[in-house]
Each structure stands twice: as structure tokens, then as C-alpha cells.
Amino acid sequence: MHKKRQSDMPIQTIIDIQNLTVGFTDKNGFERPVLRNIDLQIQRGETVGLVGESGSGKSTLALAAMGYLKTGLRVFGGSAQFCGTDMFKLARTPLQALRGGKIALIPQNSGQSLTPTMRIGAQMSEALELHSSLPQSAHVQRSLELLTRVRLPDPHAILTRYPHELSGGQQQRVALAMALTGEPLALLLDEPTTGLDVTTQAHILELLREINEQTGTAMVYVSHDLGAIARVCERVVVLYAGEVVSDGITRTVLRSPSHPYAHGLLASIPRVADARMPTPLDGRPPAPGEAGPACAFAPRCVLASERCQLERPPLRRLVNGEQVRCHFPEQTSSIDCADSRVARVAKQSQVRPLKLDRLGVSYARPSLVDQLLGREPNSSLTVQDVNLRIGAGETLALVGESGSGKSTILKAVAGLLAPACGSISFADESALGAQVEQRSQSHLRKIQLIFQNPDDSLNPRHTVATILAQPLELYFKLTRAEVVERSISLLERVRLGAHYMDRLPSQMSGGEKQRVAIARAFAAEPDVVLCDEVTSALDVSVQAAVLDLLDELRAERGTSYLFVSHDLAVVRALAHRVAVLYQGRLCEIGPSAAIYSQPLHPYTQVLLGAVLEPDPDHAPRLLANDVVESEPPKSGCPFQRRCPVHQGAACDRELPPWQHVDENHHIRCHIPLANLMQTLSAGKKSMHA
């Protein structure tokens, strides 16, 4: 009988990384590892998530599986094998044959990763030429098949387009289609949905699940977003400071992690289903190459003992199958989360409520021709008919996807953008000047702004002392000594010490810089603070601390927040009231508890349905497609083109009327309230059935 030879058996472990250490040599000649002793095996068809924050080395690891290292990095030890071949020792030609073929990458920012001067069709054809045996004449046909496979509508048109003509979601799908040309055994996905809208993200993740189920392609999904990983991956590997600290099946790692870092991370993530504030994880992750010889997490770990400061824990397998790098994994489950609480109530506030009345804003500038003829540009307003009232000491959140106009509203309130119509005023007072130049000093002081990106919002040439002095000197008549005194007390209030006064932004981490930005905003003793995605650029474990700080300050000073965010979980933790926007128009506004538990407006339902939770059993509900609209429709309800419960002509022609659920909760929809409530309870029943 003919025994099957070993080499005939399909290899089961397709990615085999053994004891891999990768790093760079710094300018003093020291070797700094970015990945340390990584052991990772991925089987055929397996979906593994690589989770970590900045400095964890997750992207480096994923790329190393292809034998690729960024300039400046090199292998210090170990190997990375793909189907038995050592990728770092492979010659150029076979390496090129494998890359993009049997092992393919889907990059983080596809918009920048597709060559701008080549049409999509040409780029797909190139991939087919390199990795499939199809003749040139069959390329178009196959490309169309692949584009349809990734659910791109109108693939013929896409083939003729250039990358910059596609939306973010479309670009990502094209990248996926290109990766599939070689019928890969493994896909490496480097943060593929970062920067995409909630609904787009949900759709793409569903697509990935489908591809894995149908073709058995293994996936390595790199992300900091535990919700995305919970959805796609059956196994999770947590990286911290270049080491694997936890490796187990998703359910175990996300529900009952055995490593203190994983535990702390999960506790610090806000959840949509949970109104409580997340528990912050103190400290920050070490920079690449910075970690010492002992346990990398020890400085931040609640369980840290002397042993942890001296001895590096090995990776060992626990009874439940999880591999953990910790000296005391059994104690992790007993870590007590600090009393997590709901958003604090503000003390009696002197702050006057802020009112936005029928606000409309437009970005369109008159062209030269328009200027010569003296006419207004003819396009619909970016933001229209927004009525908002921010009560004293409360947090009102503006939520929506790209194009919702939430940042635009913020800029208009800040006076950086003149409204086309409508007004902004403090209750009972006359309207604020349209632009900053026209506002009084006291109005300017009362409204302060915190930006998204702490790297950008602080002048790189100014020390913290100068940064804080600016608002103090501008709004108050203080002596120099008083300015210094107040600056120091502000710094202490945001949990940074007086020793930060002389630091430059380049000497601080993202979280620290954002705190300085918060201190700067509060230096003015404002009534309203406008927060523009203030935690989106921060590491996950650092976000919770900043949110907590913001909440504390609000409660203490009675300030109100107008809080813009795309992250619905963050909004849930922080906001009292929520306004849902679509294409610059209000859909629903009401108390956050009501909106999250009973979303009435169809768009709110779509939005909340698409949200991911770091829970493998939570499945998002995809109620609408993920088309990104560039302009609101000329008439009627702004959501008419995507609404799953579109009612016909009325929705297209007439603006939906305001309906009042109660005195605080309003919704604009043509569908009568009673029907909406009915559908909601029916939907809930079907979910539980």
C-alpha cells in the first residue's frame, strides 16, 4: 500500500514564529528590542487577533510574518516561518512570489497604500499577473468577480477609477479584493477598519467572517479595538511592550482574562451596554525598545511584587488553555475594579445654559465667478436647522458618522466658522458674535475648546508654563507670580505635577499632552467646554483616565460640555444627553439612557445596531448599507436614501416633523411615534427569542 508521504500532507501550521526577537540599534549603540521572544503559531483557517497599544509591536509582528521589517529594524534572533519556509532567509524572487500571493497584507490606510497614478483595474490586473495563472484576457473578468466578492456595488465603474476617487470603505474593500487574487492561505490585516465609520466597519467585519468561513483563509487581525477582534477572531493574543502576555481563545481572554494587563485593559474600555464610567489604568505603555529586563507591566500592575520587578515571567499554559506571561495569574480575577460609577452629577451650577437656535452652517465659498456676479453659492448647507440647548453642568454629546456635521457645529459655537443663519446665545442674552473677532472678552472666556490631536493642539515651541499662561494672561489681570501659582494648581488638578511647567510637548506622552490641553481650557474658568473627539487619538488604556478627569472637573466646576465623538461607548459613559446627527441635520435628541436603551429614530437604530462590543457573543445588527453620502438630499428627510423603513414619497419631499417622546426627548421622523415604539419592542422580542 502506498503510504502518504509526510510532504504530501497539507501543512497545518502555516505561520510559525519561534522565539523571534526584533529590534533596532539606537544612536548610542545599544540594542533595543521591539519584539521579544515571540512564539506564535497559526493554524490553517484560524483567525487570530493581535491586540496591543502603541509600542506593543503588533504591527511589526504581523509584517514580520511576511518577512518584512521597517527600515532600521533587524532580526536579533529566532525565526518566522510560513508553510515551513523561513521568511527572513528567503531569496528575493521566491519571497516576491509568496507576498501578495499565499500570504497577503491588507494595510491600515488603503487610501495611501494604493498607487495614486494607477487605476484600480490596472492594480488588480498587476496582482493577478503576479499571483494567478490566468492569462491577460481573463483579468478583467476575474477582477470583477473579486470586486463583487467583496460586495462592491458597480464593480465595472470601480475598475476605471483612481484610488482617490473611492471612499475609505471602498478603498479597504479593494485592498481586500487585491489580497484575495492569489487565493491566500493567510491574510494579515493591519488595523483595517481604523478611521472608518461605525456602520462601514461593521459591514467589513462581516465580510471578513464570511471569507474566513467560505475559503478557510487564516487571518491575523491586528488592532487595538477589542470589539472588532471579538467579532472576527476565535483566538486572541495580547501584546504588551513587545511580548506576548496572553494567548487564548477569545471568550476566555475577553471574559475572564488571566493577565493583569488584559484585565485592566478590558476594565478601562467603555461599553455601550454599560452606563458606568470605565476604570482607568494608571501609567502608560512603554515606548518601543524601552522595556526593561523584568516584567514590562510591573510599573502599572496592581499585583506587582518584588519578584515582578526583578524577574521576567515566562509564558506558561494555564489549566483553562490560556497562555499567560505573569507570575501571579491566579490572582488576576480577584482584582477589584475601583467603584465604577455613573457620570457624576454636577453641583449647583452658576453656569447659564447655552442655546443654539436654528443654526445653519456652510463651508461653500463663493467662486471667482460668483464673486464677480455678486451671488451666493448654490449648495445646501452642511449643517441645517440645529436647535440645541445645553443645560448647566451637563454633558451633551453630538454623535454621528462622517458628514454628520458634528465638528462643524463645534467650530460654529467656538466662533471659528460663521453660521449662515441662526444664532448661538447664552440663555436670555443676545446672540454671540458670529466669529471670534466679533465676540466680547467675557463670551470668549466662557467658551473653550479642546482638540482631538494633542500633538497638534500644543505649540511645539512653548513650554507648559507658556501654554497655561496664555489664557490666564488674556482673560484675567494677574501678576506674574499669580499666573505661575494658578498654572501649578491647574497642573495638579489634572494630575500632573508642578515639575511639568518647564516641559515641551515633545517631552510628554499623548495622555499628558491632552491633560495640559484640558488644563489650558479650564484655566479660563469657562461655562462651556467644547470637546472635539478628545480621546480618539489616545491609547485605549489612557482614555479612561482622561474621561474620568473630564467628568470630575465638570462636576466640580459646574461646567457644561458639548462633547463630540464617533465612539458610542465613550458617549454612553460620559453624556447625560445625546443628539444624533445625520448629514448635518438632527434626527433624535434626548437623555442618553433613553436613547441607548430605546433608540427610536431609524438612523439611531442603525448606528447603535452596528456598534461592536468586546464580547464574542455580541453580534452587530446591520440594518442599512454602508454607503457614505457626500451631500444631504435637496429636500425631505436627510436619511431617505439609506433608511431601512423608508415610507415613500413623504420622506423624499417633506422635512420630517418633530415628535416629542417627552419633554426632553424629541425625534424627527415621518413614522408615527407609536409605530416606532412598537417596532422597537418587537425587535427586542425577536432578539431574545
Partner: protein
Amino acid sequence: MKRIFEVLKEVASRPSGAIGLLLVLLHIAIAICSPWIVPYDFKAISALDILTPPDAKHLFGTDQMGRDVLTRTLLGGREAILVTAIATPIAVFWGGLLGIYLGLVGGRRDDVIMRIVDAFLSLPWILKMLLLIVTFGNGIHVLIPTLAFFYGIPVIRIARAAAHSVVARDYVLAARARGQKRLTIIRRELLPNVLDALMVEGAMRWSWMLLAFSSLSFLGFGVSPPTPDWGLMVADSRTFLPLAPWAGLFPIAFLSSLIIGINMLADALAKTLGVDRAQKAPI
């Protein structure tokens, strides 16, 4: 102030910066001290000693009028360095200020002024300068303002572009939102960040100006004889060049070494400050 020292120190630590700095300082030193160290009177002609090759008496030889080439070469950079060293800061100052202002204010004013600047730049530099020189003469009191004016115009472009990249940053928006006055924003937020690009540009401007100055002298529109000047000396030496190359080569060597020195300095400065040197044709 402290920053300037730090920057200079780092520039000097780079090889190109060290050489550049050395050359520049050497030339400046020579320009200042030369009247006291030269062996001969630069005007002294001698019918006997025409076109003598370098020897013990005349280290650099003599030119076609019997004048000592060493003397004239050492003195030849004085007017050039004086004029350009004064005109460059003026050019960077006014061009930079206007450029930053335009970058901040944008809008109609920006469009109109840039249109005029473009139109101006479409005329060859030599035409513009010659017109002014021919009309008003070629004394220092004409050359300095002329050079400062014409060479400030490209600085407007650079400063405006630098300002644009800074103006879009959130910290400038933050300052605006706070209600800071425009002048304060320029001074506190823009200037410190634009200054780097301007410093590098200033060094480059100096080298272009020297080039222009010596070319003008070469053509006969710069310094008037008998004042020694490198460009003029090269022009004078042309007819006899095959017979007496030293009369032209020494001024060429001095001029080239100064310009190369400035360029190396500018390069090291750009690397130190992290500024990307714009590749542009000289004016």
C-alpha cells in the same frame, strides 16, 4: 538667544557645517581685516610689472595694469560681503513679514498680492536690477535697497508656504478661538515655528545675492573701478586669461569658496533644524 547658540553648536558638530562655518568666518575676518594686512595699495599700477606670474614679490602675481593680485583679491570681497550681508537680513525681514501676514490672513488680499508677486517674478532678475542701477547709479546706497527688494520677493513665497503649514495646525486655531489678537498670534504662534524655515532661507538668499552681485560686477554694472571686486577682476582678466590665468583664478577661488561655504552652512542648518530646502532656481 540661547537657542541660536544651541543651533550653532549643533551645526558645527556636523562635518559640512563645520567646514561651512569655517569658510564663512574666515572670509568675514579677511573682509574686515584686509585693509590692514595687504602688502600693496590696490590702486598702484606699474607699467613694468604687467602680468607677472606669482613670485616672492607678488604672491598672487599681477594683473594687466601691474596691480598686485593678492591685495586686490583680499580686498575684493569687502564690498560684496558688506552689501549682501546688509541686504540679506532686510530681504528676509520684509519678505518674511509679508509672507507670514499673507499666510495668516488669506482671502482676497492674499490672492491679489500673490498675483502681483507672480507677475514680478516672471521678469528676469537681471532686467529688473539693471534698470534700477542704470537709472540711479551703482553706489552702495542703490545696490543694497535694490538687492534687498528683489531678493525679498521669493522670501514672501517661502514664508507664506511655511505660514500656511503652521496656520492649519490646531494650536493656531486654539489661539484664534481664545480671541488672541492677530499680531499676537503671528508673534507667539507663527513666528517661532516659521523662523527655522526663514533662517535656512536667509542663508540661501545670501549665497544667491553674492552670486547676483558678482555677476553684476562682472557685467560692469556693480562695483566701479578701481575698487577691487572679484566679479570685476574676473571680467578684467578675461582678455588675457590664457596668458595670465592667475589674475582670474584667484578671485574665482575666493568667490567660490565663500559661496560654497555659505551653502554648506545652509545645508547643515537645514539638517539641524529639520527644514526641507526648497529646490528653486535662483530668483
